[in-house]
C-alpha cells in the first residue's frame, strides 16, 4: 500500500480555492447548533390575565438547533444518539431522523391565580421553564 499512501499524501489537504480560516470556521463555530432560546409570553396575550395575577411575564424558553456529531461531551447524550446520527448521516435507513434538540432540565414556576369562587391561590408548578437542552 506504500504507493497509495504516497499518492494520498501528494493530494492537497484543502482545495486551493478555499482559504484556511474559512475551512476551519466550519468546525470552530458551527451555525445554529442545538441551544436554549427565550420566548417571553405575557398572560394578557393569551387573555388569561383575568385569572392569572402573577407573574406578569412568563418565559418558558425552548430548545432549537441542529445536533452536531460530537453530541456526547457537549450535550451529555447517550451513545444511542451518536449511533442514530451515524445512521442518519450515512442514510443507512431513510426513515431514521436526525437526533432532536429537546429540553433536558426544567425549573418550577410560581403562579398567583383567582379561582372561580373568588378565592386566591398561590401555587408552585414543576417543570414549567426549560433550563438546559440536549440531543436525543
Amino acid at each position: 500500500g506504500r504507493e497509495t499512501v504516497t499518492s494520498a499524501l501528494k493530494k492537497p489537504l484543502v482545495p486551493a480555492s478555499l482559504n484556511l480560516s474559512e475551512y476551519f470556521k466550519q468546525f470552530l463555530f458551527p451555525q445554529n447548533e442545538c441551544e436554549l432560546h427565550d420566548f417571553r409570553l405575557s398572560f394578557s396575550q393569551l387573555k388569561w390575565d383575568n385569572w392569572i395575577v402573577a407573574p406578569h411575564r412568563y418565559n418558558p424558553r425552548y430548545c432549537k438547533g441542529e445536533c452536531p456529531r460530537a453530541v456526547g461531551h457537549r450535550y451529555g447524550s447517550p451513545v444511542h444518539t451518536m449511533v442514530q446520527n451515524i445512521i442518519y448521516e450515512k442514510q443507512l435507513d431513510s426513515s431514521v431522523p436526525r437526533p432532536s434538540c429537546v429540553p433536558a432540565k426544567y425549573s418550577p414556576l410560581s403562579v398567583l391565580t383567582i379561582e372561580p369562587d373568588g378565592s386566591i391561590a398561590y401555587k408552585e408548578y414543576e417543570d414549567m421553564i426549560a433550563t438546559k437542552c440536549t440531543c436525543r
Binding site: L46, K47, W48, N50, W51, I52, V53, A54, P55, H56, R57, Y58, N59, S107, P108, L109, S110, V111, L112, T113, I114, E115, P116, D117, G118, S119, I120, A121, Y122, K123, E124, Y125, E126, D127, I129
Partner: protein
C-alpha cells in the same frame, strides 16, 4: 408488525372521532371525565377555559397575596430558593356569611358577642395536605386604637346548617380554642393560628367551615379584659391555608433541596426511592472509605 398494527388502530380511532380535542386523548379510554386529575393550570392550557366568569376577590386579600407572592417568587415567577418551609400551595378564602349573635357566656368577661363566619373550601383538592392555617385580620384604618394590646381569640366550630337535615342541629362543638395574639399599631396584618382547630376538618375532606369568633383584649396589664366582638374594628378575617400539594405536577421543595446538596445522589428517571433507605444509605456511608 406490532407497531404498525398499533398505529393502524390509533389512526382508526382518530377517524372515528375527527372532532376530538387533542388533550382529550390524554383522557383514560373508558371515557369517564377525570378532569380532576389534571391540575387547574394544565386544564386551562388545554381547553382555554380561562374565560370562565370569576367572582372578584376581596381587594385587601388580593393585596396580601400579591405581597406573599413577591416574598416567595422572583418577577419571572421563579420560586426563591431561600425558603425552607415545605408548602407549595397557599390558599386564601374570604367568608361568605357573617352575622352577629350572642354566643356562650364566658366566666371571666360575661356574655361574649361573636361573629359567625362561613368558609367554603371546595377548591382544596384531595392531594393538598394542610400544614398550617391562620385567620388573617387587618385593621379598619379609620378606627383609633392604642399602640399595643394583648388579645385572646375564642373560636367555636359549628356544624354548617344543612336545611335538608332532619336531625336537630347538634350543640356546636366548642373549639375550646383560644389563640392569644398581640395587636400593634405598626402591624398591618394580624395572623391568628387556627391549625389545631382546622387540621381534622381539612383532613376529613370537609367542604365548608362554620365558625363563631370573639375576642377579649387587654390594652394594659391593670385593666379588666374588655369584651369586643371585633376589637378596634378589625375587618372581617380571611382564612389562609398553607398546603403541601403532593401531586406530580406540583414543585416539591424538599426534593430539590435534598438532591441539590449531594449531586451524586440525583436520582435517574427510573424512579429511585425519594429518600435513601436501608442498604443504599449504608452503601453511601461506605463509599468515602472505598474512595480513600
Amino acid at each position: 408488525s406490532l407497531a404498525s398494527r398499533g398505529g393502524a388502530q390509533m389512526a382508526a380511532s382518530a377517524e372515528l372521532e375527527p372532532e376530538a380535542e387533542p388533550w382529550s386523548w390524554l383522557q383514560p379510554p373508558d371515557g369517564r371525565d377525570r378532569s380532576g386529575l389534571l391540575p387547574p393550570l394544565f386544564k386551562v392550557l388545554c381547553d382555554g377555559q380561562g374565560g370562565l366568569p370569576r367572582l372578584q376577590p376581596d381587594s385587601r386579600a388580593l393585596r396580601y397575596m400579591k405581597r406573599l407572592y413577591k416574598a416567595y417568587a422572583t418577577k419571572e415567577g421563579i420560586p426563591k430558593s431561600n425558603r425552607s418551609h415545605l408548602y407549595n400551595t397557599v390558599r386564601l378564602f374570604t367568608p361568605h356569611i357573617q352575622h352577629k349573635e350572642q354566643a356562650s357566656v364566658d366566666q371571666v368577661t360575661g356574655p361574649v358577642p361573636s361573629v359567625d363566619l362561613l368558609f367554603n373550601l371546595d377548591r382544596v383538592t384531595a392531594v393538598e395536605h394542610l400544614l398550617k392555617s391562620v385567620l388573617l385580620y387587618t385593621f379598619n384604618t379609620s378606627a383609633s386604637f392604642p399602640s399595643a394590646a394583648q388579645c385572646v381569640c375564642h373560636l367555636v366550630l359549628r356544624e354548617p346548617e344543612s336545611s335538608a337535615s332532619k336531625t336537630p342541629p347538634r350543640a356546636p362543638r366548642s373549639g375550646t380554642f383560644t389563640a392569644p395574639f398581640e395587636l400593634k399599631k405598626k402591624y398591618k396584618w394580624v395572623e391568628v393560628d387556627v391549625t389545631a382547630l382546622l387540621q381534622p376538618l381539612v383532613a376529613s375532606d370537609k367542604r365548608s367551615v362554620h365558625v363563631s369568633v370573639a375576642f377579649t383584649c387587654v390594652k394594659d396589664k391593670l385593666q379588666r379584659p374588655s369584651v369586643q366582638d371585633s376589637p378596634f374594628n378589625l375587618v372581617r378575617p380571611s382564612l389562609l391555608l398553607y398546603l403541601n400539594d403532593t401531586s406530580a405536577q406540583a414543585h416539591h421543595r424538599w426534593y430539590s433541596l435534598h438532591y441539590k446538596r449531594s449531586p451524586s445522589q440525583v436520582p435517574d428517571q427510573r424512579g429511585l426511592p425519594a429518600c435513601p433507605v436501608g442498604e443504599e444509605a449504608a452503601q453511601r456511608v461506605r463509599s468515602p472509605r472505598h474512595r480513600r
